[in-house]
């Protein structure tokens, strides 16, 4: 007898997204239960305030409820697709406010890349992408790497980055630009 195939996390989420696109609220609930803490993690980190993050979380899931059909596997892991929605929602909200940088920002540590060890299942699904990205980031000059990671995780603009890194705006812009170009070269090599 053939062993039934138990789908991976990614397949399950993709199926739940399909059912969500067809307005099945139970599937949507299961999708929410399985993923909300990850989207919330993005929003809390970037927006800094729990209440704002929870409000934004609702916005994100409403968007997913209404746009689930636009997910397709070519867009990557369903959770990554959903977390990206959260990240851009946070960025939009940050850009709508005046000042984002605060004094205690200095004390916020960035994630350590080598700690982002994926589970074996993720590893199989992403084909070692994390290691490639990690290697390419580690190969960058320190200030370029730091500028990219701060921008990615904290959602700083160029001027905010400059202020956080106590460096001239032009210098920081060029760190970002050169960092991105080298990263691309490395990832496509």
């Amino acid at each position: 007898m053939q062993m039934p195939h138990v789908p991976s996390e990614a397949e399950v989420l993709a199926r739940l997204l399909r059912a969500t696109a067809e307005r099945d609220l139970r599937s949507f609930r299961l999708l929410y239960d399985s993923t909300a803490s990850h989207l919330m993690g993005v929003l809390v980190r970037m927006l800094r305030q729990r209440d704002r993050a929870e409000e934004a979380l609702q916005d994100c899931y409403l968007r997913i409820w209404n746009k689930a059909e636009s997910y397709e596997p070519a867009k990557g892991h369903p959770l990554a697709w959903m977390m990206t929605i959260a990240r851009h929602r946070a960025l939009d909200l940050l850009r709508a406010q005046r000042e984002h940088l605060s004094l205690d920002d200095e004390e916020r540590p960035l994630p350590v890349l080598s700690d982002l060890a994926p589970s074996p299942e993720d590893e199989a699904e992403t084909g070692g992408e994390l290691h490639r990205l990690e290697d390419c980031l580690e190969a960058l000059p320190g200030e370029q790497k730091q500028a990219l990671l701060l921008a990615y995780y904290e959602g700083y603009t160029h001027p905010e980055l400059a202020s956080r890194l106590s460096s001239p705006l032009g210098t920081v812009k060029s760190w970002v630009r050169r960092g991105l170009l080298r990263l691309r070269e490395c990832l496509e090599a």
């Binding site: 062993m3 039934p4 399950v12 739940l16 059912a19 067809e22 307005r23 099945d24 609220l25 139970r26 599937s27 609930r29 299961l30 929410y32 239960d33 909300a36 803490s37 990850h38 919330m40 993690g41 809390v44 980190r45 993050a53 929870e54 609702q58 409403l62 209404n66 746009k67 636009s70 867009k75 959770l79 990554a80 977390m83 990206t84 960025l91 939009d92 850009r95 709508a96 960035l110 994630p111 982002l116 994926p118 993720d122 992403t126 992408e129 994390l130 990205l133 990690e134 990615y152 995780y153 959602g155 700083y156 603009t157 001027p159 970002v176 630009r177 991105l180 990263l183 691309r184 990832l187």
Partner: protein, 269 residues
Amino acid sequence: MSRLSAPARDYLAAVYVLGVLAAPARRAVQQRMQRDPEWQALVQHWEQYFHPLLAGYEPVLPAGEVWTSLARRANEPPPKLARPKPDPEAMLAPRRGKAVAADPANDPVAPPAVAGRRGVSPLWRAWAIAASLLAVVSTGAVLQPQHFPFLSRPGVVAETPALYLGALAVDGGRWLVRGAAGGESVYVSVEERPRVQRNRAAELWWIGSDGTPRSMGLLPTEGEAQLMLAQALPDEAPVFAVSMEPRGGSPTGLPTGPVVSTFRAIVQR
């Protein structure tokens, strides 16, 4: 495509994804994405470069009220939902019927106030509250396949076995279960911290149409686990149930302690 050179477009897409753009430039990119699939592809490309970094965000549990409020908003009729901005992504995607949700009398996700008046337990609430086995059986009618449009989608041939999904909530947390029809194992992941008394163990069961509980093994209290089943999952959606048993599991092969959570499996094909 815009007048920008290819490297300039690529750079703009990259800094958009990275997030450093100020509001006006950010909006400009979003507008281009709405109009132009090439821009979407460019941005998508950069998003995927950075996807692995998403693992660096530490998960944070949202408050329980978020779902309650979300479920209410998801049920709200237009204006908000029916007034989408022109969205190339949505236009590219196939349109899907929404007839089931549109008919309130047939709506499994009716808002609580309306459902309360009709005296019917709304599905979303049945989900949120760990119902007793009896309650699940008595609301079984609202779980019939006509409420799952994806089950009756024309032209879909069941080549792969149906997938059963369940969420078993207890005080403090829940277990998410997934397994295939005919499958001899299931995967369980733990959300939050389900409360299990000291010297007790939470045991998972499936109950088929004959009403006999079959043990699926002891549930983990954290992380993920694969449970090997003594009896393969049935071809019809089972009810999952959790009972509290002595450490080591039920001594009799049937639940001996209180059933603390049940869930009729969601079927996905």
